[in-house]
């Protein structure tokens, strides 16, 4: 049995701490937004979780390319880890977005490009897991997984552009225009600190989870191998 690396334990503690601080900053330190009120505080976690989703999305695409070039199952394990993290965090981001949208736009859901692209990516990833489930043979599963991840990675930006062409009402950040009625606002200095710290904390969390999940995947592969040898 492989021992848990010390660096990973340190990372566990670090991500727990930074999450605590980020929560404090978002809930107490940052000033209340004038128009939207307290609900705007969900924004710090909404963006940060979406950011983790995006990191996972990029990592999955990269791992997909690497698998098709190298045909090394290591990259398949990494890809699955990235897709899983992305799936979970995009889901959280979408849920938080809904909580924010309800009082501000008076609707749970808007067909905004970013939100919809994230939702479509969720569907792509669910399809990805269905595809994998339908294939027993390890290498073919890895190959098809990589191919579909790449198709998903390429389609996401096109989907985004297509929906933007369709219509948009998402707030544009940092744009200081006074369109508060549409949900736009500018970041006050206190908000800025909370915002960037949340991004930082969730980036650490991403690395931590990614590492754990890859490790889990490797151990699972070893269990499979041991079972085969025993059988």
């Amino acid at each position: 049995m492989e021992r848990k690396p010390l660096a990973l334990t340190v990372l566990d503690i670090l991500s727990a701490l930074s999450l605590l601080i980020a929560t404090y900053l978002a809930l107490f330190y940052a000033p209340t937004e004038a128009v939207m009120g307290a609900v705007q505080r969900v924004f710090y976690f909404h963006v940060a979780t979406a950011w983790v989703g995006l990191l996972g999305f990029l990592a999955a695409g990269f791992a997909g390319v690497m698998y098709l070039v190298r045909h090394d199952l290591k990259w398949d394990v990494i890809e699955v880890a990235a897709v899983e993290i992305s799936l979970v965090f995009f889901f959280i981001a979408i849920a938080l977005g809904s909580i924010w949208a309800r009082p501000v736009w008076n609707t749970w859901w808007t067909w905004d490009p970013r939100l919809t692209t994230a939702a479509i990516t969720e569907l792509v990833y669910l399809a990805y897991f269905m595809l994998r489930q339908g294939i027993e043979e390890v290498e073919r599963r890895a190959r098809f997984g990589a191919v579909y991840t790449l198709i998903g990675a390429v389609s996401a930006p096109v989907t985004f552009m297509a929906i933007r062409l369709f219509r948009t009402i998402h707030p544009v950040l940092f744009g200081a225009s006074s369109e508060a009625a549409k949900g736009e606002f500018s970041l006050a200095p206190g908000m800025r600190v909370a915002f960037f710290f949340a991004l930082f904390a969730f980036t650490i969390l991403f690395v931590d989870l990614f590492w754990h999940r890859i490790r889990l995947g490797r151990l699972a592969a070893r269990v499979d191998q041991a079972r085969l040898q025993a059988g």
């Binding site: 489930q133 339908g134 191919v147």
Partner: protein, 227 residues
Amino acid sequence: MKPRAPFLQSVWAILWKDLAAELRSRELFSGMFIFALLVIVIFNFAMELDVATRRSVTAGVLWTTFFFAGTIGLSRSMAMEKDRGSLDGLLLAPVDRAAIYFGKMLGNLLFMLLVEALILPLYSFLYNQNLFNGGLFLVILLGSLGYAAVGTLLASMSIQARTRDLLLPILLFPVLLPLVIGAVKASGGYLSGAAREEILPFLNLLLTYDVIFLSISYMLFDSVIEE
């Protein structure tokens, strides 16, 4: 010794084979066509396609019909290859894998266009709406091309999985959204006589989609069929 048959000859051989088999059985075509017809009938009662609604939803109804019918064609065309293990037959031949992709893709595109060519006049007849429109034809060509491009790749994957036919729409539809938007908006624009500047962005979108997905599917096809 020639290392392989010329590219175009192989593409043509595969296309010819699909056409000859289909002319015989007409399974694929009749399946797609009857299914498309049923979808339109269902839409009629589900949405009350009266004159006012029709103007706004015709493009949407048409494309939904085409895309749903298309999955039947894609599954069937790849199933034919897998039926007697023929995919191995294609792989054993000294042909460029890209030729296999383009051969199958062109066949899928052709069957789709054929079904569309029949559905359009039928829709016009049923709802007394003139669909004879050069712009619409262009949109249909571009939309079907993108659909066949990515559909051929995904169908050759789903056919090798245990869940087969169930899997294809689930894999295909999430990546089809830009095509749906482009095709429906551009068709709607042409049908309502919108200005060219309003339609152009959506035509561009279709064209972008076609180029991107044709090239990536062509690049990835090797990985899908070769072990």
